[in-house]
Amino acid sequence: MDENNDNGKYSAADQMVVAGAHQIRPDDVIYVGLGLPFLSALLAKYTHAPNSTIIIENGIVRSTGFTLPRSTDTPGSQFMADQLSGLFYINTLGQAGYITTGFIGAGQIDRYGNVNDTCVGDYRNPVHRWAGSGGATDVISFCQRTITVLRQSKKRFPEKVDFITCPGYLDGRPGQREKAGLSLGTGPALVITDLACYTFENGEMVVKSVHGGVGVTLEKVKAEVGWDIKVAADVKDTPPPTDEEIKILRERVDPRRIWVGGKRQASRGQED
C-alpha cells in the first residue's frame, strides 16, 4: 500500500469513484460538482446508467459522455451538450424538484450531514477559511438525495461543524429541514470517503461499508471520526471495483490521467 492506499490494482480514490458510480440509478438526473463526482457520473454513464442525465452548474445538461474536464466548464464539457443555459436555469430545475441526485465535495461534514465549506473557528476571525459554498448549498437543498465525497480525517469529521454552509439534517431532529424552509424529500443520503461509505439513519450518519479492498478496517474508520459513530448492523466491505470498471475508468473516463489518487494533476497547457 502506498500513501493513496493503492493495492496495486486500484487505489482508495478509485474505490471512491466506483462507490459513487454504483449509487447512480439508470434514469438519474445528476447534479455534479467538480472533481471525483465527474468521474463517478461518467463511469456510471459508460456502464449501468447510459440513460442518466448529467447537469453542470455553469449551464450544461448532457445525456452523452464527454471529455473529462479539469474544471467544470470547458469546451469539452460544453461540446455537443443537449442544452446550454446558465446557472439560474440549472438551479430552477433543482429548486422545482427535477434533479434526483446531487454530488458534492466538502471541507468538513458532521454527525448530521451538515457540510462546512466556509470556516473553522469564529467566522469573523477564522483559523481556516475555505472559498465558500459555490453551488454546494444549492445542490444539497434541492436534490432528492445528495452524495458527499471527501477525504476522511478526524478534523474533517467533527461532531458539529463550526459553520453550516450546506444544511444536512441540522440538529438531527426530524422535520428540521422542512421547518427551515427546505423542500420535503431532500437531503444528504450518502457520504463516500477514502475509508468508507456512510448512510443516514434518522438523520444521523452511520457506517455502511468499509473499503476493505484497500486495507481499511472498521477500527481505522472509527479512529478518523470525531464522535462515537454508529455502525450499521449489516456493515460489510464496500463492493470493490470490477476489472471492467477500472478499465473503463482508465481508458474511457480519464485517459489523460487528470485525477490520480484523488488529486488533480497539473495541466499540460491548453484546457479542453
Binding site: E57, N58, G59, I60, R70, S71, T72, D73, T74, P75, Q78, F79, M80, L84, S85, G86, L87, F88, N91, Q95, T118, Y123, R129, A131, G132, S133, G134, G135, A136, T137, D138, S141, F142, F163, I164, T165, C166, P167, L170, Q176, R177, K179, A180, G181, L182, S183, A266, S267, G269, Q270, E271, D272
Partner: protein
Amino acid sequence: MIFAVSGGLYGRIARARITDKKPSGKVQRTMSKVMKMQEAISRFVQSGDILFLSGMQHGEPSAAVHEIVRQKIDHLTLVSALTATSNLLLGEGLLDKVVSGYFNQDLRSYVVHKAKEMGRFPVFEEVSHFGLSMALMAGQMGVPFLPIKSQIASDMPKYNRNITTMQCPFTGETIGAIRAINPDVGIIHVQRADADGNAQKWGTMGVDAEGINASRRVIVTTEKIVDADVIRRDPNRTIIPAFRVSAVVEQPFGAHPMHLAGCYSGDMWGYYADTGPQESYETYVEKLVYGVKDWDEYLKKRAAMKPAGYFQNFAIKPVKSEPVTSGF
C-alpha cells in the same frame, strides 16, 4: 481649451451626464458607442462602483479587467461568479468588497496574502451561486428581492443581511429571500455584437444574462463587431439589446485565458500558474498589465513570453448546426 481638460470638475460633470441612469439619453443615441477599451473603461467604470463581471469560467471580459487594473480604478465592489482574472483586482488592491458564492481566501495564495499585507483585503459578502444569480435576477426584474429555497438553513444569513427568511404570503410557509443587486456597471464579453450594442453570446451563460441585465451601465466587449443584419437573422441569441448598452469594444481574444464557445479554448490553469506565486504574479502584472498599452500589445507580449505557437494551440475545430430560419 476647456475641452482638452480631462478629469477635474469638468470631467466629473461630463461623466455624470454620460453615466446617467437612463442609458438611452440623447448623448448615446447620437454618438457612436464603438470605442477603444481604454475609453470605455475610463468613461463608464468609476472608483467606488459595484462592478459586475460576466463569464463563469466561460468567456470572461479579461481584456476589460486588465484595463481596469491599468487605470487603477479602485474601491470596487465585485459581483461575479468564478471570474479567474479578478485575482488581479484583488492583488492590486482595487476591491473593497466581493459579493460571490466562491472566493479564495487561502493565505497560501499570494494575491490573498498581498491584499492583506496592503490592508486592502475586501469584505466578503457570502452567498451561494444560485443566491447570486437570484439577486441579479431580482435586479434585472426591478423587484427588491426574490424568494429562494436555498441558503436558508445554512449559517450564511447570520452574516449576510441581504439573505433572510419570510412567510409565503399565500401559504404561510417559511421561504428564503434574497435582496436584489443592481451593479453600477456590468461588463460582458461576447462572440458578436453590432455597432449599436445588440450583443449575442452562446455556450454556457453562468450568471451572464441576469448580471448584465441587472447592471445600470453596460459595456459590451466582443470578438467581432458584425453587421446588424447578422444579429437580426438570429435575434433569439441577443442577450442584451442595444438601448441598454453604453459602449461597444471590439477585442479579439478578449476572453483569453478563458475559453469562448466556437472561438477558442483556454489556458485557465496556465493563467493560475502564471499569476500564482509571488514572482510570477509580479512579473505578470509588470509586463502584461502595466507594461503594455492595450490588449493587442498584451497578446503579442504574451505570445512572445510563451513557447512558439501558444495562441495557435487554442484553435478549435468548428462545428456548425443547421442555421436558424426566419422569414416574412
